[in-house]
Amino acid sequence: MSLFVDAVGFGIASGAVIALGAVGFTVQFGISNVLNITYGALMTLAAYLGLVLVGWHLSVWLALVVVAVVIGGISVAFNRALVSPLVQRGASPFGLIVVTVAAGIVLQYVVTAIAGPQAQTYGEQGNSSIGVLGMTFSVAQVTIIAITVVVMLALHLLLTRTQLGRAMRATASNRTLARSCGIATDRVSDLAWLLSGMLCGAAGVALAITVVSFDFTLGATFLIPMIAAAVLGGVGQPYGAMLGGLVVGLVTQITGALWDPSYQDVVALGVLIVMLLVRPRGLFGAAWSARRLLA
């Protein structure tokens, strides 16, 4: 029982990081309808930018904030320079995916060329333990969980209580109609890419803190669980992505604790397939219409 309770705690900690990235991924998809595979490489870039800042003796948590802003800016630039022009020229969804895959690989190689292929680390960050309801967390894990919760609440308020949130939901629902109603959909799109990039940057640094040691494949490795979380929750559904992240984290850790750890990722992806067979639109997609939270 103790092992199970501990595994739940570890799952929440893992799920928090996955959720952070998954929400950013799904928000951008909900607004732009572009499956941005470059997201993984941007997480890698974020981890390495964090490394530079930590090397300058910046607090790792301050580095997380700075990197989030920087990656947000890069995300907007990426959209304006590459994605938007291709969309305007009528590129197919599959073509856009290929472009984002290619851009991700290029970015990953650039990072490797500059930083080298060897593993990197921020060093130990808040490794002392805290007991909560029988579960054990490190200070760093508690901090990341807190950051995730705050970000999720802020996102909820943004989407439901602000003019910008309403504009984002309107754009996600029907871009043409929103534009004809006077909404600056290009600006809304920019903001969605900014928000997504910031979450991507925060997730990249949080991942680097969590895994302790990382290399240039960090983003590519964790992009799959994040996409799984987003799909599990219902693509375009921020709350679904949060829940999806939690489910993926819990399933992997409980599998590791109670069964064979080498199958923990396999089981998580197996759960994804089964859930989609039962609820094809994801956990939130069946209850609410597609993209309802962003619509």
Partner: protein, 435 residues
């Protein structure tokens, strides 16, 4: 791990194909060096030069640069000089095939090779053999213990012997409650059968035996299970990132205490030291982390020649302290000398011809002069003497399957990131555990 990192969802399967194509056509293919001249014999260093294991390619190039420099300084082989040609196997068996195939097809006078490490051996070895290129492999796969491939040569222990050596050292230290944790990759799990075979013979007990995925975001659940088993020692094999994450969480969940760890000398690299020591501290990595691998004497003439050139050569001096403590590169250096001497004995640089003389270079025979360098061997052969080459790994006796395994060394890291020998496990002791 590189293959795991390329996982794609079913929805992105088509994209994955595109990505794999782009990767395969990337810097790996561009890394091949220009063709050598006809008076140059190309020595292929088949190893990862890109990807997560790229450091191995740099490390395995050192014995090639050292060996070819010494051979060329001694006048070369039958009027030809030797040149190292990096062949990037990327550490991935699928990606390795086009790169090695291209190297065989386009590299001028490609007549010998070293490297062919565990992750890619299954796909690269058949390519070299089909091209009739003799090679000294550093892979430890047990499946090659009884190979009948005539071009296969191995002067480094098989992984099952290495695994048994882990247990022998644990028993020597009195650690009988052993946690066995291996990352689920071919290269890491290769030591596992030897570990499990040896544990009962040392009256020890595997209190837990887990296979873990590499580069997971957390191993906390795994650590909890290991803690519950109360091990005295961890026999562990994983990449630096996985090791760092695991040890960090072990330390966190066990009140800053981590039991001693035994792993393979493949981890005796500056990268591993840097990554793990930053996470768990220098004290642990220099006092409680034991690295087990092939033993060789640092007092032999062969070693002194090897070490002197490694430190003096501008291409290798930066990595010399790292490489000189590890067995597989030493076996690759010896392999290079043996193949070059075999060429002299065969009066031919053609692989299919000189391959038959390799055993004769190292075998004991009446009246043979023992030589510990290529230069000494070349002089002796020129004087009409028979030779027996004794290398950095000592006197070599290949069995009928072209395998040789000597004793085992246990090293610990120095703060300089190089290794220092702390114990030698006799080869006979390891054989007993596997018998």
């Amino acid at each position: 791990m590189s293959t795991i990192r390329r996982r794609v969802t079913l929805a992105l399967a088509g994209v994955g194909v595109v990505a794999a194509t782009v990767i395969a056509a990337g810097p790996a293919a561009a890394r091949l060096v220009p063709a050598a001249s006809s008076s140059t014999i190309s020595v292929g260093v088949v190893a990862p030069f890109t990807g997560p294991a790229a450091e191995f390619g740099q490390l395995l190039s050192v014995p090639c640069y050292v060996g070819t420099a010494l051979i060329n300084r001694a006048g070369g082989v039958l009027g030809s000089t030797l040149k190292c040609v990096p062949v990037d196997d990327t550490g991935d068996p699928a990606d390795a095939v086009p790169n090695v195939t291209k190297a065989i097809a386009t590299t001028s006078n490609f007549q010998m090779a070293i490297g062919l490490e565990t992750n890619t051996a299954a796909t690269t070895i058949p390519l070299l053999s089909r091209a009739k290129i003799p090679f000294f492999t550093t892979n430890g796969l047990v499946s090659y213990n009884h190979t009948t491939d005539p071009y296969f040569w191995r002067a480094t222990p098989a992984d099952n012997a290495n695994g048994a050596a882990f247990v022998a050292f644990a028993a020597h230290r009195g650690w009988r409650r052993i946690a066995v944790i291996f990352e689920n990759t071919a290269s890491n799990e290769a030591n596992l059968p030897g570990v499990m075979a040896a544990i009962p013979k040392e009256n020890a007990r595997a209190v837990i035996n887990l296979s873990i995925p590499g580069d997971s975001s957390s191993y906390s659940s795994v650590v909890e299970r290991v803690l519950a088993a109360h091990p005295q020692v961890l026999i562990f094999s994983a990449d630096p990132q996985t090791t760092a994450t695991f040890l960090s969480e072990y330390q966190q969940l066990n009140h800053n205490s981590v039991p001693p760890m035994i792993t393979a000398t493949e981890s005796l690299t500056p990268d591993f030291y840097d990554t793990v020591s930053k996470v768990i501290g220098t004290s642990y990595i220099t006092h409680h982390l034991y690295l087990v691998g092939a033993y060789f004497s640092t007092r032999s003439v062969a070693y002194k020649v090897y070490a002197k050139e490694a430190y003096a050569n501008p291409l290798t001096h930066k990595l010399a302290s790292t490489i000189l403590a590890v067995g597989p590169p030493a076996s690759a250096y010896d392999g290079l000398n043996i193949m070059a001497l075999a060429m002299l004995m065969a009066h031919s640089t053609k692989g299919s011809v000189y391959d038959r003389y390799i055993t004769q270079v190292v075998s004991k025979k009446p009246g043979a002069v023992v030589v510990q360098s290529f230069a000494a061997g070349k002089r002796a052969l020129a004087a009409g003497r028979k030779i027996q080459y004794e290398g950095v790994v000592g006197a070599i006796t290949f069995n009928r399957y072209h395998n040789f395994a000597g004793s085992f060394a246990v090293n610990v890291f120095r703060p300089s990131k190089a290794g220092v020998l702390v114990y030698v496990i006799p080869g006979a002791e390891v054989s007993r555990l596997l018998g």
